[in-house]
Amino acid sequence: MAEEQRIGSILLVDCGTVMTKATLLEQVAGQYRFVARGEAPTTVEYPWSDITAGIRHAVERISASTGRRFFEPNGDLITPELTGHRGVDAFAATVSASQPLQVVLAGLVRNLSVASAERAAASTYSTTKAILTSNDRGGGHSEGANVHTIYDAAPDVICIAGGVEGGAAKPVLDLVEAATLASSLIEQSVRPKLLYVGNSRLRRRVVQMVGKRAELRVADNVRPTRTEENLVGAQAELDGLYVQEKLERLPGFETVSNWSAVAPRPTARAFGQLVRYLWRLGDGSKGVLGVDVGAASTTVAAVFDGRVFTTIRGDLGVTFGGERLIDEHGAETVTRWLPEPMSADEARGVLVNKEIRPTSIPQDMRELWLDQALAREALRTTLELARPGWEPGAAQPHPHILPLCDTIVVSGSVLAHAPRPGQAALIVLDALEPIGVSTLVLDAHGLAPALGIVAEVKPLAAVEVLDSGAFVNLATVVAPVGRARRGEIILRVHVTYDEGKFSVEIGYGDLEVLPLPPGQQAVLELRPLHNFDVGLGRPGKAGKLRVNGGLAGLIIDARGRPLRIPGDSEQRQSQMQQWLWDVGG
C-alpha cells in the first residue's frame, strides 16, 4: 500500500473470534469512500479450520451487492484491480480470532511490579492463568507451590517482574529459578517461554541461571522505581509472542499474509492506532478513547498527549467469558443492569447457550438486555484494569473518575447493532461514566481496526473514509461533575439551532435527551452551578461550544459521578427502565 502506487480500491477485513467483517473502500471522484460491507461467521475452528473461508464468505456478500469479483477460480485474491470490476488494489487484515496468549505473571509485590506486569500483558490478547508473588515477605507461596502452579497452568509465557533498579536480588532470582524449573519440567514442544522484565542489574545472572533450560527473553524493567512504570519493552515482547505463538499459527494466516500489502496485525493494536489518529485530528488537550466490545475480548484504547494505552481483557466478551464472570463475581454483577428481574440461573442459562451458539443473536428483550448488561460489565472491568496505567496529565481534572475525553469511539457488534441508538449510548455512559463534553462516535460497520491500518499507511484515505460516513455520530454527551441534592438544578443549557433556540434546566440525577439529529449542529451555552464542572476549565465555569448531532441526540447525563445504582433490586430495575426510556432505548 505504498503512497506512490495508485490505489483505487481497498478491501479491509477483520477476522474476529465469531464474525469476519469485510469492507470495500473505493476512490470515487478522487475521494475514498466506504462502498459496501459483508459479514460471515469466522471459520478458524473445525470443520473449516481455515480463516480464509470466512473471509471469502464475507466478501461474497460484497460481491452480491456490488457485482465485483474478488477471487480467481483457484481461490487467489485478484490484486491489483483489473478491468471489468475484478479484484482490488490493496488488501489489509486485522485479526483477533486466535486464542489469547496464556500468561503466568510473577513478581515481588502484588500492587507494584505484578500490577505493572499485568498491565503489560493486558496490552495484548492474553489471559492470566496464575499470579505468583515472592515468598520473602511471607505473602507468597513456597518455591515448590510456585513450580506446581506454573506446571499445572502450562502457560505460553511466564513473565517475571520484580525489583526496582538496584533492589533486592534473591527473591527475584528465586522466582526465576521456580519459573525455569517448572518450564524445564514441561514437554519441550509446549514449553513456556520466560520473559524477564525485572531489575535490569540482575539480567546477566538471570541469563546464566536459565541457561539452556528454557527460552529466555528480556525487556526493560516494568517498575524501575516504586513510582515509575515502563511497559514499552514488555508490551513489545508480549505482543511479539502473541503474534508468533498465536496469530501466525492460525490456519490460513499465511494465505492472508500473502494477500496483504502490510502484515496482518492484531485487531486491538490497529484499533489503538486509529484512536491515536483521531486524537491527532482533534485539539489534543483532552484525551480520545476507543472501546471495542468483541465476542471474546474487550478493548479499551486511550490516547493522552499522543501516547496510546491499549488494554484488552482477552477472556471477556459478550459471547465468551460471561458464565465465568458470574461464577467469579456473582450473577448480580451483570443482572444489576437489567430493567426486569432475572434469576442467576436464568442468566447462566442464557450465557451458556450463547457460548454454545456463538453466532446467534437475541430475539427477545430479556436476552437483549442481558447481552447489553454483559457489555457494560465487560467495559467496566476492562476500564478498571486500564486506568491505573494511564497518564492523562491535564485531561484529568478530577481524580478517580474518567479523564476528559473529546471523542469516544464505540465499536463492537453489541454496540453497533444495538436495535436503538439510545441503548448503545446508555451502555457507554453506564460503563465509562464520561465527564465534561464528549462526542460518542459509532463504528457502525466495524471498520475501526482496519482503518487503523489505513491511517498508518495512507492517512488521507482514512480521513476521506471517515468523512464519507464510515463512522456515525451516536451522541454528544454533556456530563457535569459535582455534588448536589437530587433534583436540585445544577445546569442551565441554552441551545441555539439554525432554526431556533430553547433553554432547559437540568436537575441533579437527570438523564435528559435533547433532539439533535446527525448532520445538524447547535451552539450550546452551558451554565453550571458554582460547584459543578462541565469540563470548561473549572467548576462553575460557563461557556459556549458548537456541537454535532447524533443518532441518539444530545444527552445531558447529570446522574453524578461516580454513578450510583440503587441497592434495592426493585428500585434499581425501575431506575434502569427509566434511564432506558429517557434515552429512547
Binding site: 473470534t17 460471515a40 461467521p41 475452528e45 473445525y46 470443520p47 473449516w48 473461508a53 464468505h57 461474497e60 456478500r61 452480491a64 486464542q99 513456597s142 518455591e143 515448590g144 513450580v147 506446571y151 529459578e177 524449573l181 519440567l185 514437554e187 471474546a296 465468551f320 440461573d345 436464568e346 447462566r348 442459562g349 451458556v352 447457550n353 457460548e355 454454545i356 451458539r357 456463538p358 453466532t359 446467534s360 443473536i361 437475541p362 430475539q363 427477545d364 428483550m365 430479556r366 436476552e367 437483549l368 447493532h417 444495538a418 436495535p419 436503538r420
Partner: protein
C-alpha cells in the same frame, strides 16, 4: 449466501473418529482390526508428580554446605520414605523421598524428585474397525476407528466418554425424565429422556450407576451437578427446559436397546469439541461418509431454531427473503421463513438457524 452452523443428526453414515493419546505412546492394534468399546487400543506413559525438596533448609545448613549430607544423586531411583539427606547422628535431621521415583535434579540446596510415570490406557470406546494409525516422525499418537452407524451431535455436555445400551424412558420428546422412571434395570445403560430431567432423576441415575444420559434440555441450576457426574451427559438442544428435537428423539427411539457410545466433552473455542452419540448399526453396504459441512443455506433445508422464544423448534426453510426484517427487539436482520408445522411460517434470523443434516 449464508453458511449456517450445522448439527449432525444422521441415521446412517460411515463414521470415522480419531482416538488420540495425550502423549506419544504405543498403538496396540493394527489397521483392519475389529475393536470393542472397552478394548485398550493404545498406551502411553505420562509423567508423574514431582516435588522440590528444600534440603538445605530442612537440614538447617547453608546451600553451599548441603552436599556433604546428601545420599543420592540425579538419576538415582528412590523409594517412598528413603533417606535422601541426613545430618547428625543421635538427633539426626533427615529428608526422605515423598514417593517412589527418581531424583532428576539438584542444586541451590534443593533436590527435585519425580514420581514414576503412570500408564494411560486409551480405550476404543466404540465398536468399529481400525482404519488408520496416526503417527508422526515414527511416534504413535493414536488411531482412527470406522463404523457404519448413526450420529447425533449435542449442544452441551459434560463428563467423559462411555458406552452402553440406549434406554428410552420417556414416550415423547417433551416429557421430563423423572426419578420414578429410573428403575434398577437402568443400571449400566444410557438413559434417554425428553425435555430434561429433574434433580431427583439425576441423583437416582447416579445411585443406579447408569453409563450416560441424553436429554433435550437441562435446567441451569443443574449445570454444576451435571458437571460432577461420573458419567457423560449430553444435552441436545441447550440449557433450559427444551423438548428434544423430534428428529433427534425419533432417531434415539428407533435405536432403543442398541449399544451406543456417548462423549460428553465440550469445548466452544480453541479446538471445538461437541458432545455426541454414536450408534453403530450393521450395514450390508458401506454407507456414505459423513457429509462435509459448508453448504450455503437454501430453501428446503431442515433447520432448528436456537434462540428464545422459538428455541428447539425444527422445521423447513420455505423462503429466504431478500430484505431484512425487524424483530421484537427492534433489530433489523436478514432471516428465513421456517415452516415448523404452525399456521404460518416463523421468521428467524439467519444467525439463529442451525441446519440438521
Amino acid at each position: 449466501m449464508y453458511y449456517p452452523f450445522e448439527t449432525q443428526v444422521t441415521p446412517l453414515t460411515t463414521i470415522r473418529r480419531k482416538r488420540m493419546l495425550p502423549a506419544p505412546g504405543e498403538v496396540l492394534v493394527r489397521i483392519g482390526d475389529q475393536v470393542d468399546p472397552p478394548q485398550v487400543i493404545a498406551r502411553a506413559e505420562l509423567p508423574g508428580d514431582f516435588r522440590i525438596l528444600p534440603v538445605a533448609r530442612l537440614l538447617g545448613v547453608p546451600a553451599s554446605r548441603v552436599k556433604r549430607y546428601i545420599r543420592v544423586k540425579p538419576g538415582d531411583d528412590v523409594q517412598e520414605g528413603q533417606v535422601i539427606a541426613k545430618r547428625g547422628r543421635l538427633f539426626a535431621s533427615t529428608v526422605t523421598s515423598p514417593f517412589n521415583g527418581m531424583v532428576t535434579a539438584s542444586g541451590g540446596g534443593r533436590m527435585l524428585v519425580e514420581a514414576r510415570s503412570t500408564t494411560f490406557d486409551l480405550r476404543a470406546q466404540m465398536y468399529g474397525t481400525v482404519c488408520n494409525v496416526i503417527q508422526q516422525r515414527g511416534r504413535h499418537y493414536g488411531v482412527v476407528i470406522e463404523t457404519p452407524g448413526a450420529v447425533i451431535q449435542g449442544a452441551w455436555g459434560a463428563g467423559g466418554e462411555s458406552f452402553g445400551v440406549l434406554k428410552c424412558l420417556t414416550e415423547t420428546a417433551s416429557e421430563l425424565l423423572e426419578a420414578e422412571a429410573i428403575d434398577p434395570s437402568s443400571q449400566g445403560t444410557i438413559l434417554v429422556g425428553g425435555r430434561g430431567l429433574s434433580e431427583a432423576a439425576l441423583e437416582r441415575a447416579q445411585q443406579l450407576q447408569v453409563r450416560g444420559i441424553v436429554v433435550g434440555g437441562l435446567s441451569p441450576e443443574l449445570i454444576a451437578q451435571a458437571e460432577q457426574l461420573p458419567f457423560p451427559i449430553i444435552v441436545t438442544e441447550g440449557i433450559g427446559a427444551m423438548p428434544m428435537s423430534q428428529p433427534i428423539f425419533r432417531l434415539l427411539k428407533t435405536n432403543d436397546g442398541r449399544e451406543a457410545s456417548v462423549n460428553g466433552q465440550i469445548q466452544t473455542r480453541g479446538g471445538i469439541m461437541r458432545p455426541e452419540v454414536i450408534i453403530p448399526t450393521p450395514a450390508d453396504t458401506v454407507p456414505p461418509a459423513e457429509k462435509q459441512p459448508g453448504v450455503p443455506l437454501e430453501v428446503g433445508a431442515r433447520v432448528r431454531l436456537v434462540r428464545a422464544p422459538h428455541a428447539g423448534k425444527v422445521g423447513t426453510v420455505v423462503a429466504l427473503p431478500v430484505h431484512a426484517r425487524r424483530m421484537e427487539t427492534g433489530a433489523k436482520v436478514h432471516g428465513a421463513e421456517v415452516d415448523v408445522g404452525q399456521e404460518a411460517p416463523l421468521f428467524a434470523p439467519l444467525a439463529n438457524l442451525e441446519v440438521l443434516r
